[in-house]
């Protein structure tokens, strides 16, 4: 049975509480906001490291260039998908948007291990691979935190899925930033460290980010 008086009472209360609100900007604009933070970090890194090593690496091994391109596009599309999923009424299919670029990123990175090494460029040892691991984790944490903080202003109705995509966005953005100072040829240990770091970032987001977003 309908409990109309109870609803009317609540509607009265909510009406009495009503204050004007600032409308949430569209997902693409909010994505640009987050990406601008990534871009600032990238500019600082370019100023410090320059682009010559990165360009040399890509020229010598185009698959690494494709991997970096896939990573950067994944960061953009995953951030856009997360912001779209945080708005009620948007299709859950947005979750598929970063998948093609993520496949390109992972696939091209894997291919790097199969071809001949770049002449004159060192192959990463385990110590260097650890640095990559620390780099990806330490950049992903603030980038994830910022993204979750921004998303909490919206209403993510699928908090865990959104948090997984947040993890993908921040991990791929961190891996793309790593490209700027990654003066090594691809190797199985390096790729493994990248994969572990990305998996940890996504898993942490799914566990912690999901909880934070479900309370939003």
């Amino acid at each position: 049975m309908s409990d109309a008086p109870r609803h009317e009472a609540l509607i009265d209360v909510l009406g009495a509480e009503l204050t004007p609100v600032r409308r949430l900007p569209p997902p693409w604009l909010r994505t640009l906001g987050w990406l601008s933070m990534v871009a600032v970090i990238a500019v600082v890194m370019f100023m410090h490291f320059g682009a010559s090593t990165m360009v040399h690496r890509w020229n010598a091994a185009p698959d690494l260039g494709w991997a970096a391109f896939g990573g950067a596009i994944t960061a953009i599309t995953a951030a856009l998908a997360a912001f779209a999923l945080a708005v009620p009424g948007r299709s859950i299919r947005w979750a598929w948007v970063p998948v093609p670029s993520a496949l390109l990123w992972i696939g091209a990175s894997g291919m790097g291990c199969l071809r001949a090494h770049i002449p004159g460029m060192p192959v990463l040892d385990l110590h260097g691979a650890n640095d990559c691991f620390i780099f990806i984790i330490s950049f992903s944490i603030p980038l994830s935190g910022l993204l979750i903080w921004l998303l909490r202003r919206a209403c993510p109705l699928h908090p865990v899925l959104t948090a997984v995509i947040v993890g993908l966005a921040s991990a791929s953005a961190s891996a793309s930033l790593l490209e700027i100072c990654h003066n090594f040829d691809a190797a199985a240990t390096d790729l493994l460290m990248h994969a572990v770091a990305v998996a940890i970032v996504v898993a942490l987001n799914a566990i912690m980010g999901g909880k934070l977003l479900s309370r939003a």
């Binding site: 609803h7 009265d12 909510l14 009406g15 204050t19 009424g89 299709s91 859950i92 209403c155 109705l157």
Partner: protein, 225 residues
């Protein structure tokens, strides 16, 4: 199934012919809708979107009309999700509270029905899950139930006293305004006008305080048990 499509077969308002209308309108942007699909249901959706746009700017009258209009939509979504009749009103209440909290996320260029449907769907699932958890905690053993001795009156009385004490303690911890509203309207059963006279607050503030107090008490007593 997309959450935004769940309004496809709603029967909450308008003539039956509306049910034959295409679903595209509910999926999002108005620009994508062909002219021939413009119907009364779409006009109603647009009207609701306009009310919400006005509510976002602070128009209380538009907001009250919108929320009243939304109750039927929410109930329809909850029914489609499989929520039992006795829990439909809980879904309505929770959805209205969520709508109020996240009203800034609505984009007036898109469908209000799709936006509301997604929220109502989610709240319906939450209610179903909480019912599922409660059912799992409960014991269904007829033999044990029959053979278990009835508690004596003394222990039942003690339990009631304990519950009353918990409630009194919870009320004590409420902020002063909310405590005052519970005492005047709930415990002393005064009318709004009488309570307003006694406390010197207006009736709107008393209602808001009472509602917030009940929500905090519910969270505290049910959440802690």
């Amino acid at each position: 199934m997309l959450p935004s499509l769940t309004f496809s077969t709603l029967t909450f308002s308008g003539p039956c012919v509306l049910l034959r209308q295409p679903l595209r309108r509910a999926t999002g942007n108005h620009k994508a809708v062909p002219i021939e699909s413009t119907s009364t249901s779409e006009q109603a959706d647009q009207q609701r979107a306009a009310w919400m746009a006005a509510a976002q700017a602070g128009d209380q009258r538009a907001y009250a009309r919108l929320l009243t209009d939304s109750v039927g939509l929410i109930r329809a979504v909850a029914r489609r999700q499989g929520v039992a009749m006795d829990a439909l009103d809980d879904v309505v209440q929770e959805t209205l509270l969520t709508v109020h909290r996240v009203r800034h996320t609505f984009d007036p260029s898109r469908s209000y029905d799709a936006w509301l449907s997604a929220i109502a769907s989610r709240r319906a699932i939450d209610i179903l899950r909480s019912q599922g958890r409660r059912d799992r905690r409960e014991v269904h053993d007829e033999f044990a139930l029959d053979s278990h001795p009835e508690r004596d009156d003394a222990s039942a009385g003690a339990e009631r006293e304990q519950e009353a004490r918990r409630l009194r303690e919870a009320i004590e911890t409420l902020p002063p305004g909310q405590r005052e509203a519970v005492e005047q309207l709930g415990l002393k059963e005064r009318s709004l006008a009488e309570a307003a006279d006694v406390t010197g607050r207006n009736t709107g503030a008393l209602k808001v305080n009472l509602h917030r107090a009940l929500k905090s008490l519910r969270d505290r007593l049910h959440g802690g048990s």
